[in-house]
Symmetry: C2
Subunit: 427 residues, 2 copies
């Protein structure tokens, strides 16, 4: 089935500002709460949030096989579970409904009033119920930077890194959508030169610039997903801020990996941009040398050219862009990550989230964390308001944005923005 | 409210075999499927599975505040969310209903027929929907054994171990109840002396003898659970086999911890034994030296005296007991684990599972994994059928059992039993 929703010449009868992340060629999926406290599945065009539950009730999806309440739910899990044929049918249909030439909804004021909201009038929710969250570590530049700082500058990459898309399990219960503030975590740390740890607020709270992909239920327990089939089990992508407390991490992570340093919060952008929408931005990833083992080998273009940037906004000042990176730098592709994750028979469910790992580029201004940008705090970043940052201060807001762009169209993610509050205080 | 269900002198009108794990003083909670394909929440007395949904419909819980369909569900999450006062009321009521002196159900044949099943006629399910699964590493003997084998025999414990109940995130999607077989995982390993990894079936599949505890929803994001409040947020315990592929683990786990070596399967016993039922078996844990930081300090008895054993049953032979251990050996208590887990504000939900980590005792026959029992395969275990085991063979069944016992009563978990099948083959 053709992805007619991607037609770059199509225009919508809804107004789309120039440089919007959400032209009619995007059609992402999300979940929002209206002012009337109704939760629904929706999409976005320009600055309009569109209620897909209302559209379904008004029969705009006639002819597509969907359960009656498919879009009147508070998560996308069931829709994602229906598989990529249904995703594509629905996305194509939405493009038709909002096509400038289609009068059906355009000229029906009554319908428009129950279907279309200003994005500023809705509250975005988590788009999926995330059963399991996995975070990978797939940027060679990031792994090299961390290795140089904490291990051996001459042998920065660990021996397994070029053979395995290294990953580990994260915590689902603290994944929040853009806009939800996050408290500076308390935790155990070992002061420099001491042998006895102390407990208190983390002094080194950091962001990690990542993307995440959302899977459908793809295999039974014991079964693997071959690398050449993996892409069809990926629904779409979000931006992801993997909040990290570096001082807690340093003391706790040997030998079982990061735990409390990470699980206090993970923030994601609320609109899932489908792999279909990202299709025009497919590109070749970095050359893999040594050749991966056969179960990870793939030919063709499996990376995506997604421009990424991170800003820090102090409480009473304008934001400063601190990093510009790109998803195409990732050494391991999403399909390799998913094939590896299931190579042992690990079951993947609809709505599972898999993070890319910090996306650092090759240059010093493209690193994906303050740890790397300031080289462990040695080189503070100058902010537009004259202040300096080694890590994130209380009441700073960290904003990540991402978009793809070619001569014809711009497809974006919007942003994931979250404010770091002081440590939680009980009333 | 008193725990009248624990009265050691109470007898049931249901037959309870001597040495049963499930006298009327136990009253665990689980979920089962009947022959008529009805899923219900239930309890167990002797060899009878009791349908709590049917009991509720017949008004046996009158006077206890419960939603109408509380027990007609396929998970215990909502019930657990109701909190420890409700758990205790229901458990006390069940003890009353089945008390030898109470004729109400005893003498009502019609009711008995819809409420009581033979355990052999029902199929046990996962008792909870597990949102997040955390595994700790809290046995000093286990951490010391592993440290001696893989690091420095003179400094076996890592510097953080005596200060932190070390833990990490596991995978929820592959947690299965007792009885579900598990496939030997495929994976990447690095052969001894080589620098290039290979992909194939793990050659070193192991069990880890653990228990797990199930939490209720206890805090909002950002908020911690103080150590002295932690116990009231623990619903109960299960036995847990943390299946592990040692060769995959060795190659993948630095620096982010075990991943595919563990997430192919975790098996749990299906009946959750409540902390109320375990109350008489409270005991003192090991002395903690150095003194933990204040947020982990607790006085009194926070360990539990639970006898544990592991058997291996070859396909065509009787089982051999390979380890006898005890939960009381754990250095860190469950309440310390939960207080630590939430010390950074990590949210805990109803139905979350937290594993103890391998429970090794002080003697060589009380170690909780084949890795330790055979000291890395150096000292194979002699089986009753004359065969030997370094690790687990295809078609072996690993059976873990656990019980508490004093002069008056025995409270047990039943077993978690699962067969290791050969690697999964696609049809």
């Amino acid at each position: 089935m053709a992805i007619t929703a991607n037609d770059p010449h199509r225009k919508s009868w809804l107004d789309v500002p120039s440089e919007s992340d959400f032209p009619i060629q995007n059609i992402p999926f999300g979940v929002f709460l209206t002012k009337e406290h109704v939760v629904t599945i929706g999409t976005r065009i320009g600055d309009y949030a569109i209620d897909l539950g209302a559209l379904q009730q008004l029969d705009y999806f006639e002819g597509i096989e969907l359960t009656d309440d498919m879009f009147m739910q508070d998560t996308l899990n069931d829709f994602i579970s229906d598989g990529h044929k249904t995703w594509r049918q629905v996305r194509n249909r939405i493009a038709d409904i909002f096509d400038a030439e289609n009068p059906k909804l355009r000229d029906n004021k009554e319908h428009r009033e129950v279907v279309i909201f200003n994005v500023s009038d809705v509250e975005m929710q988590l788009p999926v119920l995330i059963g399991d969250y996995t975070d990978f570590y797939s940027s060679r530049e990031h792994a090299t930077n961390v290795g140089k700082m904490f291990r051996d500058p001459e042998n920065a990459l660990l021996p397994n890194w070029l053979h395995i898309p290294v990953g580990y399990h994260g915590r689902s219960s603290t994944i929040v959508p853009s806009g939800i503030p996050v408290h500076r975590p308390m935790g155990q740390t070992l002061p420099n030169g001491e042998t006895t740890p102390v407990f208190g607020p983390s002094r080194l709270v950091d962001f990690e610039l990542e993307t995440g992909f959302i899977t459908t239920d793809a295999n039974i327990m014991g079964e693997n997903i071959p690398v050449h089939e993996a892409e069809e089990h990926i629904f779409g992508m979000v931006l992801l801020n993997d909040w990290s407390a570096r001082d807690i991490q340093k003391w706790e992570y040997v030998p079982l990996g990061p735990f409390l340093a990470k699980n206090f919060a993970t923030s994601i952008s609320p609109w899932i941009v489908t792999m279909d929408a990202l299709e025009p931005f497919r590109t070749k990833g970095p050359k893999q040398n040594p050749m991966p083992l056969p179960y990870l080998q793939q030919k063709g273009k499996h990376a995506f050219d997604i421009c990424l940037e991170v800003s820090i906004k102090p409480e009473k000042a304008e934001e400063t862009i601190v990093s510009k990176s790109n998803f195409k730098y990732m050494y391991w592709s999403m399909s390799q990550q998913l094939a590896h994750h299931t190579s042992n028979g690990c079951r993947v469910n609809s709505g599972d989230l898999m993070g890319s790992g910090t996306i650092s580029g090759p240059t010093e201004d493209s690193f994906g964390s303050m740890l790397e940008l300031t080289w462990g705090g040695k080189n503070p970043i100058k902010m537009n308001d004259g202040s300096e940052r080694k890590f994130i201060n209380d009441n700073d807001t960290v904003i990540m944005r991402g978009y793809c762009k070619n001569a014809e169209v711009r497809i974006g993610f919007g942003e994931v923005s979250s404010k770091l509050l002081p440590p939680f205080a009980r009333n």
